[in-house]
Symmetry: D2
Subunit: 359 residues, 4 copies
C-alpha cells in the first residue's frame, strides 16, 4: 500500500530503476477529461535526465505510453495505466555498491526492512519512481483545469545553498522555464548555475529550497482534522526523495511574531472575503480560504558524491566508497515538476472529496 496515494483520485506507482520499466495506474479519474499523451510527455520532459548541463547525463528518453483509460483524447473514467520503459537497464549489475551501503541513501534501510534489494541504480528508492508521479500529476492537472478557471501551480527554486532568488511581483511559467535552474530570478540563476557546475567538478553536491505558489484554488477546499490541506501537502512533499522540511505561509519564521502581528485580517473585496496579509499561506483550519497557497520545501544536498566516504558493507566490514560517473549535483531543477505534480495530485483528490461531501 505504500506505493499508493489518494482517497478518490488514487495513484499507484511501480517500477525499479533498472528493471523493465516504471509507471503508474491512476484509479478514480473522472470521465470526459481531455487528455493526450503530450500532456503527460511535456511534464516528463521537465524531469528527465540529460535535459541540461547541470543535471545527470544519464541517457533516458522517458517516453510515456498510455495503456488504458483514454479513448480518442478523452478519459473513460476507468483506470489509466502509464508505462515508461527503462532503456538504461542493468538489473544484474554486481558492483561494489552492492556490498557497500552508500551514506545517506536508502541502501541500508531497505536491507533492514526487506532483507532483499534491487541494488542496481537504487531500485525502488531511485528518483525514477517519480516518473509515475509526474505522469499522474499531469492527468490531475487536466482535471483541475477543466473545473477551476485560473488554476495555476508555479514551483520555482528559491535558494541553492546560500544563493537566494528574488521573487518578482509577477510570476510566470515562462519566467521559471527561462533558465535551466528553474528559478524566478534570472540574475540569481547565473550564480546558481555557476555554483552547481563548480560543485559538480569537485565531485560534491548542493541542496536548496523550492517555493510553490498555487493560484485559483477556490475557498472551501480541504478537510478538517487529519486530512487538512496543509497536512496532505506536507506529506506529499516529504514523500519526495531528498526532502527534509516543509513550511506553509509564515512557516518557521512566523514563530518570531506575536499573534497581533501574525493574524491575517479579513476584508471584503468585490463581494469576496479576502485577507490583507497571507501568513496563513492560503489555508486556515485545513481548508483553503481563496488566497494563494504558498509553501516551501527543503531539499538536502544530493547524497551521491564522487569523493570517498567511509561506510560499511552489508556484512559489517568498514570500507570506503566513492560513487562514479553520472549524478545530479543538485536535484532542485528536476524536482520542480515533481513538486508541482504532487500539488496537482493533492488538490484533485480534495476536489473530488469536496464534490462528494458538499451539502
Amino acid at each position: 500500500m505504500s506505493s499508493s496515494l489518494g482517497t478518490l483520485f488514487r495513484i499507484s506507482t511501480w517500477g525499479e530503476s533498472h528493471g523493465p520499466g516504471v509507471g503508474v495506474v491512476v484509479d478514480g479519474c473522472p470521465p470526459q477529461v481531455a487528455l493526450s499523451v503530450q500532456d503527460i510527455q511535456k511534464e516528463l520532459d521537465r524531469r528527465r535526465p540529460g535535459q541540461s548541463k547541470i543535471v545527470t547525463p544519464r541517457k533516458e528518453d522517458d517516453v510515456a505510453e498510455i495503456l488504458s483509460g483514454v479513448l480518442e483524447g478523452q478519459t473513460l473514467g476507468t483506470p489509466i495505466g502509464i508505462l515508461v520503459r527503462n532503456t538504461d537497464q542493468r538489473p544484474s549489475a554486481y558492483t561494489e555498491m552492492q556490498q557497500a551501503y552508500r551514506p545517506s541513501h536508502a541502501d541500508y534501510t531497505y536491507d533492514a526492512k526487506y532483507g532483499i534489494r534491487a541494488v542496481s541504480g537504487g531500485g525502488r528508492s531511485s528518483a525514477r519512481e517519480t516518473i509515475g508521479r509526474v505522469a499522474a500529476g499531469a492527468i490531475a492537472r487536466q482535471v483541475l483545469l477543466q473545473h477551476w478557471s485560473g488554476y495555476q501551480c508555479l514551483a520555482y527554486v528559491k535558494t541553492v545553498k546560500d544563493i537566494q532568488a528574488a521573487v518578482p511581483e509577477v510570476l510566470s511559467a515562462e519566467l521559471i522555464e527561462s533558465n535551466i535552474v528553474r528559478t524566478c530570478d534570472p540574475v540569481a540563476a547565473e550564480r546558481m548555475i555557476e555554483l552547481i557546475e563548480n560543485t559538480r567538478s569537485e565531485g560534491n553536491s548542493v541542496g536548496g529550497i523550492i517555493e510553490c505558489v498555487v493560484k485559483g484554488v477556490p475557498a472551501g477546499l480541504g478537510e478538517p482534522v487529519f486530512d487538512k490541506l496543509e497536512a496532505d501537502l506536507a506529506k506529499a512533499m516529504l514523500s519526495l526523495p531528498a526532502t527534509k522540511g516543509f513550511e506553509i505561509g509564515s512557516g518557521f519564521a512566523g514563530t518570531l511574531m506575536t499573534g497581533l502581528e501574525h493574524n491575517d485580517e479579513f476584508y471584503m473585496q468585490d463581494e469576496k472575503v479576502r485577507t490583507r496579509t497571507n501568513r496563513s499561506g492560503g489555508i486556515q483550519g485545513g481548508i483553503s480560504n481563496g488566497e494563494e497557497i504558498v509553501f516551501r520545501v527543503a531539499f538536502k544536498p544530493t547524497a551521491t558524491v564522487l569523493r570517498g566516504q567511509k561506510t560499511v558493507t552489508n556484512d559489517g566490514q568498514d570500507t570506503t566508497l566513492a560513487a562514479r560517473g553520472r549524478h545530479d549535483p543538485c536535484v532542485l531543477p528536476r524536482a520542480v515538476p515533481m513538486v508541482e505534480a504532487m500539488v496537482h495530485l493533492i488538490l484533485v483528490d480534495h476536489f473530488l472529496r469536496q464534490r462528494a461531501q458538499r451539502a
Copy 2:
C-alpha cells in the same frame, strides 16, 4: 473520512467543542495489551486546560471513560471507544463571534466549505478535538512499549518566540515536566514563562518550536514511496492546530551544507550499523535506520488575541472584533503531549504494517 487516521491502527475522533462531548474510537489495536484508564488520563491531564498559570483557565476536567474494547486491564483486539464529556457546554450561545469571522481561525473556511458551523467554542476546529488524539496516543504507546524495549518519545519546547532552550546531552521526561512550559532548559523556562505572562497581560500571543526526539525505534520501520516515515510524521504534525512547519534531521538548515558535509557516514558498533552524524534524523528513504528520530514543528502564535482586529461578518460587513475572556497566550506547553501522541500513533501504525509485510 477526514477525522480518521491510520491504516491498521486506525483512530476516528469525534466531537464539537461545546457539544455533549469529545472522543475517539481506536480500531485495530492488538489484543492482550495492558491498558488502564489511568494510562489515558495521565496524558489527558498533560493537555487539559487550567493546568498552570500560563495556559487557558477554561474549566474542564477532561475525565476519560473507556466504553469498549478493554476487559480487566487488557485490550480485547476489538474497537476501543473513549468518551470525555464536555462540562463547559454552551451549544447555543449566540455571540458576536457567530457573525464575525475571527482572523486566522477556521470560521470563514468552515462556512465556505460546509455552509453551517457549530459556532460556539470553535466547534470541530477547537483544540478540544485533540483530546481524542491524546487518548488514542496513550493506547498506541502501550502497544509500542510492549514490543520495543527502550522506546521513548520526548517532545519539548525548543523556542518560544525568540527565546531558545539549550538542549542538554541527557534528556528525560522528568526534566521536561519539571517546568510548566515543558522545555528542556530550566533557565530558559523562566524567561519563557515571563514572556508568556507578559504577552497574556497585553492581550497578545506568541508561538514557537517544539522539538521531538524518539529513541528505541528499531531499524527497518517505515514504508518507501508515499508512506515514508517522515512523510507520515509531517502530515501528523501539520494536522495539529496552529502548526506551520515541519523539518526532520538537518531540515531547512541542511540546505546550506554540501553533500560531503551533510552525508551521515556509516560505521559498525557492537555489530550494529550506526551513523556518526544524524543529519538524516533517523530516517533514510522513508525507513528508520535505528538512530534517534529527531524533528521540529513550528507553531504560530495563538490566533485568539484580546485586542481589536479588523474583520468581516458572515454577511460581508466590515467590523472589529476582540476576543474576550479565556485563551492560551501560547499553545506550546499543551501541544507537547499532542506531538508525542501523534508520534505514537504514526509509529504503531507502521509497526503493525511492518509485522504484516515482513518476509
Copy 3:
C-alpha cells in the same frame, strides 16, 4: 479496521454486549441534512429486544444519544457519534459458557484469533453490535431521502423455515409492519408466528429468507470491477450475524435458464430506458439500471438453543452445553431493519462516490 465500513460515508461501530455501551461514529455525512434523534430511535426500536412475543425478552431500551455532528436538527458535516448505554450489563459474569464453546457461535474462533474474549453475552460477536449499524443506517437514509425523491427500501421476511410468504403486487412499509414477523403476507404471518412460538417452546430455533426491494435508485449508481453494487450488497449482507447466502435478481434459480430466457430486453418508456423483465435485479455490470433492486438473504436458524448439545471446553475437554433463559427463536423479524440499514449504508456511500467521480 474490521469494524469500519464505507469509503466516503464511513461508519465505525464499537461496543461489547455486556460492556458500558455500544455505538457508532459516522464520518463523511454531508452537512445540512435534516436529522433528529427520533429518526434514529425509530429504527432502533424496530430492532430492539422485547418488542414482541416472538423475540428475546432481554430488557434493553436501547436509547440513542447523539454525541456530536448535529446542531439544531441539522448535520454539521463533522463526525456523528451515537451512544447507546447497555443497561443489562454483566461484564464479569463467570458461567459455564465461559468454559464451553457454544456450537455454531463465534466463541472458539474468537479465542483462536485473539486468545482473549469478552465472554459475557458474546462480547463483540453479539448482535448488539448491529445497533451501531442501524443507527448509522438511519442517518444514511436521511441523506438519500434528501436527494432521491421516491427512494424506498423495503425488506420483509419471505420465508421462515418452509413457510413462504406470497409477495403482493403492491408492497408497503405499513403492510410489513402490520405483523410482528415483518412479512408481506398476513396469512403466512399467522403460520410463521405459530411456528416460531412452537419452536421456542421446544427450546429450538428456525431460520429463513429475507427479501429486499429497493425503489427509486437512479440509473448509473455503482462502480465497475471490485466495488460493484451487488458485490458491496453481498458483503454487507454476509457481514450481518447468522447470514449464509445472498442472491440478486434471478439468483441461484437463474442458473436453470438459458441466456435467451434470462436476458432482460430493453425498451423505451417515457423517454427512459427500461427492461421488461428484471432478472438482473436492477444492477448490470455493477451499476444500477434504474429498475428495482431485488435481492434475498439466507439466515440460518439461531445458534442458541435451549437443549443440550455436545461441545468442548476451552481447555479441550468434552462437555454438554444447553443455553438457558432468553433467546431469539428466530432472528428474522429483528433482522429486517438491519438489512435495510445495510442497504442505506451501501447506497449512500455509492451516491457520494458517484458525485465525486462524475464528469
Copy 4:
C-alpha cells in the same frame, strides 16, 4: 478506487478489452517470496480464450510480462506490475453494438454512469479485466503456500444448467483439470459438454454453479464485524462477471433446518478443536475455524447470444440486435481459475492482516 481490492495485499487492475493491454499492480506483497512468470502464466492459460472447443475461439495468447517487483525469482516487497498485451485490438471499431444496448450487458449502465464508453469488446466491463485478477491471484497463492503447509483451493463446476456433478470423497486438481468443463465428475462432464455444444449451435447460452473447497486454512483467520471472511468472499465472488449469488456452508438450504439440526457440534481430535458437521462452511463469526471452507457461486447464462433480441439504441430507438461471431456459450469452465484467484486474494489479505493484529 473501484478497480482496487485489498487492505494490505492490494491489487489494482487496469485495461480495456480492445485497448493496448490489460494488467495489474500488486502493492503489499511481502519480500522473498518465490515467484516466476510461469507461476502466473500457468493460471492465465486456464482462463484464456481458445483453450477448448466449449469456450470462445477469440485469439489471445495472454502472455504475461512482469514489469517490476521481482528479481531473480524472488519478490522484492515492492509493487509487482504485470502487463498482458491485447493482440486482438480493435479500439475504433464502429459497429451496430455501439448504438444498440446489448441486453443484460453493462452497455447501458456504463453510459448512464460515465456518458462515455469504450464500446469495442465491452471495454472495461469485458471479462478480459479478470486477467489482472488471475495474475495477482497466482502471486497471492505463492505467499500462502510459503506459510500454510497443506493450503489448497479447489474450485469446480458443480452444475451446468440442470446437470449436476457428483462430488467425490477425494477431490484433486488433476480430477478437475481432467475434463474441459472443470467439473469433479467425469460422467457429468460428458453430458455438460454435450449441453454446452448444443447450446452454442443454437446461438444460446447456459449458466451454472461453481463450488469451491479450501483446505489448509488455519483457525483464527478473518475479522469480525464488516470484514468477516465470508463477507469478503461474497464480495469477491459477486465482483466477478456474470455472478448472481453466493452461499457458504449450508447456504439457502440451511434455512429449512432447525437450530438443533444445523449447529455444528465441537469435539476434540488430536488436541485440535473440530466440528463433526460443517454447515458453517469453515467460518464462524467471520473467522475460520480450521475446517474446510466451502461455498458456492451462481453464474447466470452468458448474456451474449447469437439470436435476435429486442433492445434500444443509445438515442432511444427500438431495435433488434443479434451478436455475431465468437462467444462463450457457458462461462463456467473459464471462471474456475477466476474463483480460485479471488479466494487466494481474500485469504492472503486476511493472512497479512492477522500477522499485523496478533497479540
